[in-house]
């Protein structure tokens, strides 16, 4: 097993190396000279020339890549040309925000999606099923930015219950933090809840017809014990896989929702960097996110190894 773990660990390095080439290469496809964009309104030729030199834009792509990767190897992701802040500092600033938003959104998605899916499966073609399906359809077809603005208008402008946007650190004021995060988390969670509901429903329908569920019922177990302990537990496997994937997507930032609620997370950081051609920021954030994915995958692999004795041999 140790050997297997070492093999998995060793595979991280070539994976991240390929990822870094991909990030750097794709970025070169962005049209326009970043120095021209970064030189601002006046586009002073001496500033453009200086930026070319500073960003090594006067060097071949391969050399530029080496400059960057050498910095990364030393833990230096560079600095934003636009604001002069170190990229690592920007990432560490945004990371807690993005993680918190992802967790809250996922919690809301699970709290709505899974019970709704179970109820829908239990009353297949009945009123609950219809209701849950309508809810899922709503969740899937409502654009995030629209729902966001509507919620701001209702809860912030008309009712005055919640702040319209902005972010407060939970260490500063937990209540204000939750008040600021609840709407964006709901907007994000709403769409994922719909996906989870649909999958829970179909998985539950399959499981409810399985022999062991029938056996459990025949043994006279209380209905909710059968549903929760026997059926749902087994039905959740594909749902958890799907939820994990959705969670991964949430961690890479949610551009529109962050934009509408002015949440300073990864999505906003990357989009602004792309529009401003702030290459160091794009590279740093995408590499960071990709590394997080790779590491999470590795952790999942290790968990499988620990949980499933068949894989260890």
């Amino acid at each position: 097993m140790q050997r297997e773990l070492l093999r998995r660990l060793a595979s991280i390095i070539p994976t991240l190396f390929c990822v870094s080439i991909l990030i750097f290469g794709l970025q070169q496809l962005l049209p326009g000279d970043p120095a021209v964009m970064l030189a601002g309104e006046d586009r002073d030729p001496s500033v453009i020339a200086y930026l070319h030199q500073k960003l090594h834009l006067d060097q071949p792509v391969a050399v530029r890549y080496l400059y960057w990767i050498a910095g990364v190897a030393h833990g230096d992701l560079g600095e934003s040309v636009r604001t002069q802040e170190p990229v690592l500092q920007l990432i560490l600033q945004k990371l807690p925000v993005t993680i918190e938003l992802a967790f809250l959104a996922m919690a809301i998605a699970i709290a709505i999606g899974i019970p709704a899916g179970v109820l829908a499966a239990l009353s297949k073609d009945g009123p609950w099923d219809l209701f849950a399906n309508a809810l899922a359809l709503w969740g899937l077809s409502t654009p995030n930015f629209w729902l966001g603005i509507m919620m701001i208008l209702l809860f912030s402008v008309h009712l005055g219950w919640l702040p319209a946007s902005g972010y407060v650190s939970p260490l500063e004021d937990l209540r204000a933090n939750l008040a600021a995060m609840i709407m964006p988390a709901f907007v994000l969670g709403n769409a994922i809840a719909a996906v989870l509901m649909r999958h829970t429903r179909s998985a539950m329908l399959q499981v409810l017809n399985a022999d062991y569920v029938r056996t459990a019922r025949a043994k006279g177990l209380p209905p909710w014990t059968v549903i929760v302990h026997h059926a749902l537990r087994n039905a959740l496997t594909p749902v958890i896989t799907l939820g994990a994937l959705e969670f991964g997507t949430l961690l890479s930032g949610s551009v529109l929702t962050e934009q509408v609620f002015s949440i300073p997370g990864f999505g906003k950081l990357v989009v602004d960097a792309v529009f401003n051609r702030d290459y160091a920021v794009i590279q740093g954030v995408v590499l960071f996110t990709a590394s997080a994915y790779v590491l999470l995958n590795l952790l999942a692999d290790i968990a499988y190894l620990l949980l499933n004795p068949r894989l260890r041999s």
């Binding site: 326009g32 030189a39 006046d42 604001t83 802040e85 701001i152």
Partner: protein, 504 residues
């Protein structure tokens, strides 16, 4: 007796505590973008100037009518040959780190602007050759040639004074901890979230400052910015969407302020930027350009694309600017004449591509222009490209016509020189007319306003008939703010000056 005494002390303490809470005012401003680096030498964006207005005082400033007034300068005198400017400085001014502001600091700052790698101020101060410290509160700025726009440049970022001690200590990282002499000092910045400034207690004009803190929050979406204002989370927002004005006007809790910008919105035509100018019907024949301009109804464009919130114009400055050339008035739409011109040019249905950034205003303008020009026989294809891409296309001459806005500078030179003089960086049109170059250079060397006006009139005659840029209108800067905020004044440069403002 002791109880009475204690109760008196408690009352006094309570009142003083209450009054300190009551006076602890925070002004929250919603910005349309996140500013770039907060170093006046390196800064490049318009929105950054809004933050600087509270953070960094300048040698000069502009008033509501675009007149140059002293800020850190108390008086100034040009040499008879106009090749040097002597400035008397305000005494008793401190930088936010406690350092003294004096002539040596001015010399340091202007030299920093001129020599720092990547400085965006070098071009604005190009004719400055040296700075002499005459006495602790007098400097002389020496020029290689007379340069009338110098005062306007010193009324913007080139005139901002930073603490030499802090600048030397921080080097090129100064923008992360800027130290100036303005009414508020830098406290913290969270990128894309907020910039917080705290009151500088030793500000030279502290009687005009009535806030303890200013928080700038970048919120790019105009609807969300407004929602924040309406929800009471912001006190003031800039660049309000014109379509939201009726909603704000109907609510007594808010006020609207507007003024015409010093910039312009226009269509740049590729007349010589690249080989494409030859295949561009607009680029190769001035009659086609004239026909194109005659096909446009500027008032109509403003109504449809800007909800009426702009002033029509035909020059680099708006018609109410003192340097507007009255000898070339705004041409009226004349489709028949346009058709006749096209017939004379031998191309009754010229086809060209109108490049536009993907901003909603620019795209609306392009669509209205397309429809209007069609009446005269033009076949306009719209090509919308993300801003950086469109800029790259303009820079390399891969366009026929380009919808482009300019935020403007206080002196007309800032709207003219870089766009219309041969091979200047913003001359996307590729326009090159030696007579115009000579005239614009003359306008730079002429300080007398009447004489300068005559030169601008001559420039207008040439440029507006050559049409490298068809100027369309000047947008209104639109602000909305809480009725509790008083003392808000509008300035044509679109900046927010907090002096005299207070919340009740």
């Amino acid at each position: 007796m002791p109880i009475r005494r204690i109760s008196q002390i408690l009352v006094v303490l309570f009142i003083s505590l209450f009054s300190s809470i009551a006076s602890a005012q925070t002004l929250r401003i919603g910005l349309a973008e996140d500013p770039d680096v907060l170093d006046p030498t390196l800064a490049r964006t318009f929105v950054g100037r809004i933050v600087f207005a509270s953070l960094c005082d300048k040698l000069f400033d502009i008033d509501e009518h675009l007149n140059i007034i002293g800020q850190l300068a108390t008086s100034w005198q040009w040499a008879p040959d106009n090749k040097s400017l002597t400035i008397k400085l305000r005494k008793g001014v401190l930088f936010q780190d406690g350092e003294k502001f004096d002539a040596a600091a001015v010399k340091f700052n202007i030299e920093r602007h001129k020599t720092m790698p990547g400085s965006n101020r070098r071009g604005e101060l190009a004719p400055v050759t040296s700075v002499d410290v005459m006495d602790p509160y007098t400097v002389r700025i020496n020029l290689s040639e007379p340069f009338a726009p110098l005062l306007a440049a010193l009324a913007d970022r080139a005139g901002m004074m930073v603490s030499p001690k802090a600048a030397l200590k921080e080097g090129d990282k100064f923008g992360n901890h800027p130290v100036c002499s303005g009414p508020f000092k830098f406290s913290e910045r969270v990128a894309q979230d907020r910039i917080v400034l705290d009151r500088f207690p030793d500000y030279w004009n502290k009687a005009a400052i009535h806030f303890d803190k200013i928080i700038f929050m970048p919120i790019p979406d105009a609807a969300v910015r407004l929602a924040n204002l309406r929800a009471g989370q912001l006190d003031l927002i800039e660049r309000v969407a014109a379509s939201d004005l009726p909603t704000i006007a109907s609510d007594a809790r808010f006020k609207i302020a507007r003024t015409t910008e010093i910039g312009y919105q226009g269509i740049t035509i590729n007349v010589g930027k690249s080989a494409q100018a030859k295949s561009n019907p607009l680029g190769r024949d001035p009659r086609v350009r004239e026909a194109f301009e005659l096909s446009l109804d500027r008032q109509g464009i403003v109504q449809v694309a800007m909800d009426g919130e702009a002033q029509v114009g035909n020059q680099w400055v708006s018609p109410n600017n003192p340097f507007y050339a009255k000898n070339v008035p705004i041409p009226q739409r004349n489709v028949e004449k346009a058709k006749a011109l096209l017939k004379a040019a031998g191309d009754e249905h010229p086809m060209f591509t109108l490049l536009t950034p993907t901003t909603s205003d620019a795209q609306k303008i392009a669509q209205v222009v397309q429809a209007m020009a069609k009446d005269a026989g033009f076949d306009v294809k719209i090509l919308a490209a993300e801003f950086a891409t469109s800029l790259n296309m303009a820079d390399t001459g891969q366009f026929d016509a380009y919808v482009l806005a300019w935020s403007g500078r206080a002196d007309p030179d800032g709207n003219l020189y870089s766009f219309d003089v041969c091979k200047q960086p913003l001359n996307y049109a590729g326009y090159c007319n030696p007579e115009v170059d000579a005239l614009i250079n003359e306008s730079r060397a002429t300080r007398d306003p009447t004489q300068r006006q005559k030169v601008f009139n001559a420039v207008a005659q040439h440029v507006l008939s050559d049409r490298p840029i068809i100027y369309l209108f000047h947008r209104h800067w639109l602000w909305a703010y809480s009725s509790k905020l008083s003392g808000f004044r509008t300035f044509p440069d679109g900046l927010i000056r907090v002096q005299g403002m207070s919340l009740h």
